[in-house]
């Protein structure tokens, strides 16, 4: 098999560094133009400590970046990964390694070694984590720490007391060294120094021979003190390193959470979706409830879902302290109120809303999480702001379009209404003149009045139809019927209106019934046939229909000059007239056709007719079978 087609395999756990693994694997896969697989191995040992929900999040993230995902169960991590590597014929296996407190992570080192021993046919890439102390305790209170330090010293002294007295420095010193090192590591350097001094004094007064002597052996005592101080110094440095590592890990977690929130927000299309993403991510990261509040007059609109909490102060009260109106102090500082916290969602130019956080526990949120929460709030605010700008831009676009349409409408109506009106008005005036016109001239003027008023009625009728179709007032009353009938009534109407029309009708006798509104579809056919007649006078027009699976197709084709390809979509727009199409028509006919066909759930397109001319094709949906026929049908 070609090596480039063999996949990249990445092993994911639940810890935050998984994001770096995902990104590395994704990059590697792109570089090598290979597929990649994100895998999670459930081991009996790791199951209890893995955050299942977080694993799910990482797997989804990998999938979004194009990975195939696998989940397997295996007795050990190494076993599971080895099987996967062989099964997928992976060219590279990526895994993380740290001496972190996650059992998964601790296994990493051993796993990598074991995988190496198994001699896999894949290169092993191990991403090292920043160093992290193996044991991290909770911060203790000063009193507890001091008491702890005394207890440790007392224990050391007690142990030393049991040892033989003679020449005991070499035996006692390690005991105190261990004690002081432990104190410095556990509770910091302050207590470490104190413990060193105290330990020296205890040694001097209780253990040094002769006991309780005032003088003692100064060199011995100094050596003792120096050793203890050195021990606590080394341990203090270690402690600082450990804290730094923890900070790095915390930052990595923050970056990962922010990244995921940013991804979710970027995909959100509405305030509702933004609020939902915010709630979900805040809930997962901080174990707290979250709502996004928008001021609406004297009340709040809260998303997602309404708030049962009626203690919420009205916007006018909460507003000033959160920069809804004037900026006072730092608006990004959370405002505690009635067990919940409020953060202003301030984007680049104004406050978009308020974030309400309700911690699950009674004690509120740990102080260190505020920084991340504020970053979350800033991201949510930016997402809301982006949405508002988009909406504003869309609104402006709609307004421009409306303005353009209004201008076209005014122009068209101004011209198309005024021209026939002027002719009618003028002709009537002439007819009323006292000087008699001869009979043919009178008849001519009267015929003109009739024709022009018909044109006016036609135009107004079209405008009305289109308005009612577009506003949804006019709906298609669909009934199953043969197309032949509609074609017949359309031809009849057109002939009554304009005289004989040379149309070649080709309707197969086995054409199925189709659900349509006869009156509306007749209008479509009349418009199309009248157009064809106008653009190709005297040339034959072809009307044919056929059925395809799930739809009925209808085509009206003429031998006119045709429509340039670039304008084939635009001819269905309101008031659009083909350049040089001359007299007659105001550009509403095809717009009405499209509105009617769309009201039937169908489509309409203009195409070139083979051999020259235009073919307008209509597709009407055929939903299932027509209703059954009555008994006794031949």
């Amino acid at each position: 098999m070609d090596a480039s087609a063999r996949p990249i395999l990445v092993a994911l756990g639940s810890e935050a560094r998984a994001l770096r693994l995902i990104q590395a694997a994704c990059r590697l896969a792109r570089e090598r133009n290979a597929p990649w697989i994100a895998a999670h191995v459930e081991t009996t040992a790791g199951a209890a400590t893995e955050d299942e929900e977080q694993v799910q999040v990482w797997m989804q993230e990998a999938q979004r970046l194009g990975a195939e995902t696998r989940r397997v169960r295996a007795p050990t991590l190494a076993q599971g990964l080895a099987d996967l590597t062989r099964g997928t014929r992976a060219q590279v296996l990526l895994l993380g390694r740290s001496r972190g407190r996650w059992p998964w992570a601790r296994l990493g080192h051993a796993t990598a070694d074991e995988l190496q021993r198994r001699g896999l046919d894949a290169s092993l890439v191990v991403l090292d984590d920043p160093p992290e102390a193996a044991w991290a305790g909770a911060p203790a209170s000063p009193f507890g720490a001091t008491a702890g330090a005394f207890l440790v010293l007392a224990a050391c002294t007690g142990l030393a007391w049991l040892l033989p007295r003679e020449g005991n420095l070499s035996l006692v010193l390690p005991i105190y060294l261990l004690g002081v090192a432990f104190i410095a590591h556990r509770w910091g350097q302050g207590l470490g120094v104190l413990a060193s001094a105290l330990g020296t004094l205890l040694y001097n007064f209780l253990l040094e021979t002769p006991r309780f002597s005032q003088g003692g052996h100064w060199p011995n005592l100094l050596f003792f003190l120096a050793m203890l101080l050195a021990a606590q110094l080394v341990m203090g440095l270690l402690r600082r390193l450990r804290l730094q590592a923890r900070e790095v890990q915390r930052r990595e977690f923050h970056t990962a959470s922010l990244y995921l929130l940013g991804r979710a927000l970027a995909r959100s299309q509405s305030p509702e979706e933004i609020a939902l993403s915010a709630t979900e991510h805040i809930g997962r990261t901080f174990k707290a409830g979250a709502w996004v509040l928008f001021p609406e007059g004297e009340a709040w609109r809260s998303l997602p879902g309404s708030l049962a909490d009626h203690d919420l102060p009205p916007p006018s009260e909460l507003g000033p302290s959160l920069d809804l109106g004037a900026r006072q102090g730092d608006p990004l500082e959370p405002l505690p109120l009635g067990g919940a916290f409020y953060l202003s969602l301030t984007g680049t130019d104004r406050c978009e809303g308020v974030l309400r956080i309700l911690p699950a526990g009674a004690g509120g949120l740990p102080p260190r999480t505020w920084e991340l929460l504020k970053a979350f709030a800033a991201q949510i605010a930016l997402a809301l702001e982006r949405l508002r700008w988009l909406e504003e831009a869309r609104q402006a676009q709609v307004e421009r379009e409306t303005e353009r349409l209004r201008n076209t409408l005014l122009g068209a109506i101004g011209h198309d209404l005024r021209t026939p009106l002027a002719a009618i008005h003028g002709a009537a005036g002439t007819l009323l003149l006292p000087d008699g016109l001869d009979e043919p001239a009178r008849r001519d003027l009267l015929t003109m009045i009739q024709d022009e008023s018909e044109r006016l009625a036609h135009l107004l009728g079209n405008l009305l139809d289109l308005t009612r179709l577009e506003s949804g007032v006019l709906q298609a009353q669909k009934e199953w019927q043969p197309l032949e009938e509609v074609v017949g009534s359309a031809l009849g109407r057109l002939e009554r209106r304009e005289g004989p029309v040379p149309v070649h009708v080709d309707l197969p006798p086995d054409l199925p019934l189709v659900p349509l509104d006869a009156a509306l579809m007749e209008q479509v056919l009349v418009n199309l046939l009248a157009n064809a007649r106008r653009h190709a006078p005297g040339r034959e027009v072809a009307l044919r229909a056929w059925s395809e699976p799930g739809r009925l197709c209808l085509e009206v084709a003429d031998r006119g000059p045709g429509i340039p390809e670039a304008l084939r979509e635009r001819v269905f727009e309101k008031f659009f007239r083909l350049p040089g199409s001359g007299e007659g028509g105001v550009g509403l006919g095809l717009a009405i056709c499209r509105a009617i066909v769309q009201a039937h759930g169908g489509g309409i397109q203009a195409a070139e007719r083979p051999g020259g001319g235009t073919a307008i094709r209509i597709d009407l949906p055929l939903p299932g079978d027509p209703p059954a026929l009555p008994e006794g049908t031949p």
């Binding site: 009625a457 009612r468 009353q477 032949e484 017949g488 509104d517 009555p630 006794g632």
Partner: protein, 235 residues
């Protein structure tokens, strides 16, 4: 114009002065005696006191729905009633026809069309009274008494249902028959609502009795309303 000794009386119930101004001289010019009413109440009073031969009724009246006027007139008169309606009000047209109106005219309409419709309605009224059982025109001949149908002199065989449909159309010949009226007449009260039955049988009738079923001359579709049998047109 020379008025006949006993002119036909036409009542125009129309609230628009402009339309009355057009209708009164047009009708009077044809020798009809014209009565006018601008409201429903006035129209009903005029109809009672003068018993006109035909009523031209606008559906949009200021004081009452024209449909109500139609219902009250039909309670005692069988004289033809022609409805004037704005365009695109198929539902109103169907309701008016189902309530017993004889025909409708969509505004705007020309004088020629108006007069043709009125003449047809008046002629039908006379024919109905005479109980004519044979209708013929454009090559098609139907003898209801002998149940005989022929096209261009050749007898045409129709199934029972096809004949019943043709019969229903012939009885209303020249006049619009709504879907509901035809369904009830051919299939009985249970047939109402199954408009597609009607369309299929109409297509069969056309295949047997029309030269080009896609361009019917006799069996005219009134989209959204019903059908009209026309034997006067070119065959």
């Amino acid at each position: 114009m020379t008025a006949p000794a006993n002119p036909l009386r036409i009542l125009v119930v129309e609230d628009e002065p402009a339309l009355r101004r057009f209708l009164v001289p047009t009708l009077a010019g044809q020798g009809y005696q014209v009565l006018t009413a601008a409201t429903a109440a006035e129209g009903l009073a005029q109809a009672r006191s003068h018993n006109p031969d035909l009523v031209l009724l606008d559906l949009g009246l200021p004081d009452q729905d024209g449909m109500e006027v139609l219902r009250q007139l039909r309670a005692w008169s069988r004289r033809p009633i022609v409805i004037l309606s704005a365009r695109n009000q198929e539902r109103d047209k169907v309701r008016a026809l189902d309530q017993g109106a004889d025909d409708y005219l969509a505004k705007p309409f020309g004088a020629a069309e108006l007069l043709a419709r009125l003449r047809a309605a008046l002629r039908r009224a006379v024919q109905t009274e005479a109980g004519d059982s044979v209708v013929a025109g454009g090559g098609l001949r139907v003898d209801l008494a002998r149940r005989d149908v022929s096209l261009d002199g050749r007898p045409v065989h129709l199934t029972a249902l096809e004949y019943r449909l043709l019969e229903a159309l012939v009885r209303r010949h020249g006049k619009v028959a709504t879907h509901a009226q035809l369904l009830v007449e051919v299939w009985g009260p249970g047939g109402a609502g199954n408009t597609h039955y009607l369309r299929i049988y109409m297509a069969m009738l056309r295949r047997k009795l029309e030269v080009d079923p896609a361009r019917p001359r006799h069996f005219i579709t009134e989209p959204g309303v019903g059908y009209r049998l026309d034997l006067d047109g070119p065959g």
